[in-house]
């Protein structure tokens, strides 16, 4: 695939994303067998879609509803003086006191988004543990943050764009790397 920006490469298609989510859901269950305190929290926007898909898989496998929330981290960004983030409401299912939170995002890059999300989560109580699940780890961390569950680890250049597309039914899901 070619675009005016340069070379583009689809690194994950619908099938690959679904398989990765299956595997990640299985790993999350393995690490938290039947844990009644498990909660999924996705980072807006897109991390919340992925969190929904992971929570659905775990809920189905265990035959119970795993609580699910969405987190907006605009107010916690450390680059907020460069952009004015649009503020959207966070929806957290009750207090996170003593819960095991699986924080979900689409792409892990510098780690700054996760740093902001950790600050935000702490305002909802003191979780017993927070784990991190990401669909793509593209490297180039600027903070000491590592994921517990990863869909795909890819080598990228720091200027590349990693584009995650999510559709309602999942059929058009894709991960594309656009080279600069």
């Amino acid at each position: 695939m070619e675009s005016e920006m340069g070379e583009s490469k689809t690194v994950m298609d619908y099938g690959r994303i679904a398989t990765s989510l299956d595997r990640m859901a299985a790993q999350i269950r393995e690490c938290n067998p039947g844990n009644p305190d498990l909660v999924f929290v996705g980072i807006r926007a897109r991390g919340d879609y992925l969190a929904t898909r992971l929570a659905d898989r775990v809920s189905k496998a265990e035959g119970r509803d795993i609580p699910l929330g969405a987190l907006d981290i605009g107010l916690y960004r450390d680059d907020a003086d460069k952009v004015i983030p649009e503020v959207r409401a966070s929806e957290i299912p009750g207090s996170l006191e003593a819960k095991v939170v699986v924080l979900v995002d689409d792409v892990l890059f510098t780690g700054r988004t996760i740093r902001a999300a950790l600050d935000a989560l702490m305002n909802y109580g003191r979780p017993q543990k927070i784990e991190l699940a990401v669909l793509v780890d593209r490297g180039h961390r600027e903070l000491p943050i590592q994921p517990n569950y990863v869909g795909l680890t890819v080598e990228t250049s720091v200027v590349d764009k990693v584009e995650v597309n999510m559709s309602e039914d999942g059929k058009k899901d894709s991960v594309i790397i656009r080279k600069k």
Binding site: Y76, I84, A89, Y124
Partner: protein
């Protein structure tokens, strides 16, 4: 990823007259996002950390000042209250000199209330710091209008096409003026009514209609905003008695039935129970008076957020 740079056009919020529909919607949407912070176990975000907000109140106010102070604190700002009774105004300093002294201490935003209409505008001509008008004389009270619009949108799901009635002392009410401008810009139709001594001439020029009785005004209304009789503002009484006022212009269990099904009753507070509104209505199922107070914090958070951010953006 689309990081749309949405912001307000002016560095100050002096009145609803200056806001267009898109800006109003931006404020309401931002307030919707921020409201949730008020219900967290830890009600504070670090967004305005290191910013200083000074509330300059030259007129007594508890709820508006408290609401602005809570809003600033929950966003992480340092808030300082400066009130006329403790100030150097009594020592003869002019308003502009007082404000310039405050600005010399480098605040990031000023919230001003003053009994003279236009005082926030006057200060905005002399200061670089963003200014929010928290009520100036009988002129404007934009944050009240915005929280009213927010509350109606939350309860009715829209503003467009709604019928609003504002009843009471229209002449002395900055809330009425800001509400008329704000709600009509958002597509509602507004009728105002009150005793002829308390109706300002040519109020229709703001885009509302007038009615001659409370019944005429509230019939079929989706929203009724009752205003307080501001006894402290009168030198000579414009009314024969409060009891007569209550009988002629009060909202009670009987006339409230004239409103549209599902109508909501609002009041900017503080209410005079048994004068402009009967206790049964003030505490009844249609009343959203306490929702207004709750939403006031979210709306003021949105204003502080958008106006302080706007200045960083332009630096």
């Amino acid at each position: 990823m689309t990081d749309e740079l949405k912001t307000l056009k002016n560095k100050n919020l002096l009145g609803m007259a200056d806001l267009d529909r898109d800006e109003t919607e931006l404020i309401l949407d931002t307030a919707s996002g921020l409201k949730e912070i008020n219900f967290r176990p830890i009600k504070k975000v670090p967004t305005l950390q290191g910013r200083t907000q000074i509330n300059l109140f030259f007129e007594p106010s508890t709820r508006t000042r408290t609401s602005f102070e809570i809003a600033g604190k929950r966003l992480g700002a340092d808030t300082i209250n400066f009130s006329a009774s403790t100030s150097s105004l009594v020592k003869g300093e002019t308003l502009i000199d007082t404000a310039k002294n405050i600005e010399a201490m480098v605040p990031d935003i000023l919230v001003i209330r003053h009994s003279a209409a236009g005082a926030p505008y006057l200060l905005s001509q002399h200061l670089d710091c963003p200014i929010i008008n928290a009520g100036d004389g009988a002129h404007e009270h934009p944050s009240q209008a915005l929280l009213d619009i927010f509350t109606v949108r939350e309860k009715k799901g829209k503003i467009d096409g709604l019928k609003l009635a504002i009843v009471g002392d229209i002449a002395h009410s900055r809330v009425a003026r800001s509400d008329v401008m704000g709600f009509t810009k958002m597509g509602a139709s507004v009728v105002v009514a009150g005793p002829s001594t308390l109706m300002p001439p040519e109020i229709e020029r703001l885009g509302c209609e007038t009615a001659n009785s409370i019944d005429e005004a509230i019939e079929g209304a989706d929203v009724v905003i009752m205003l307080r009789i501001q006894l402290e503002r009168f030198e000579t009484s414009p009314l024969p008695s409060l009891r007569e006022y209550s009988e002629l212009w009060g909202l009670n269990t009987k006339n409230v039935e004239l409103t549209a099904p599902g109508a909501i009753i609002m009041h900017p507070g503080p209410i005079n129970r048994g004068v402009e509104i009967s206790p049964e209505v003030a505490d009844g199922r249609r009343s959203v008076i306490l929702d207004q107070v709750q939403n006031g914090v979210a709306v003021r958070m949105a204003l502080l957020y958008l106006l302080t951010r706007r200045t960083t953006q332009n630096e």
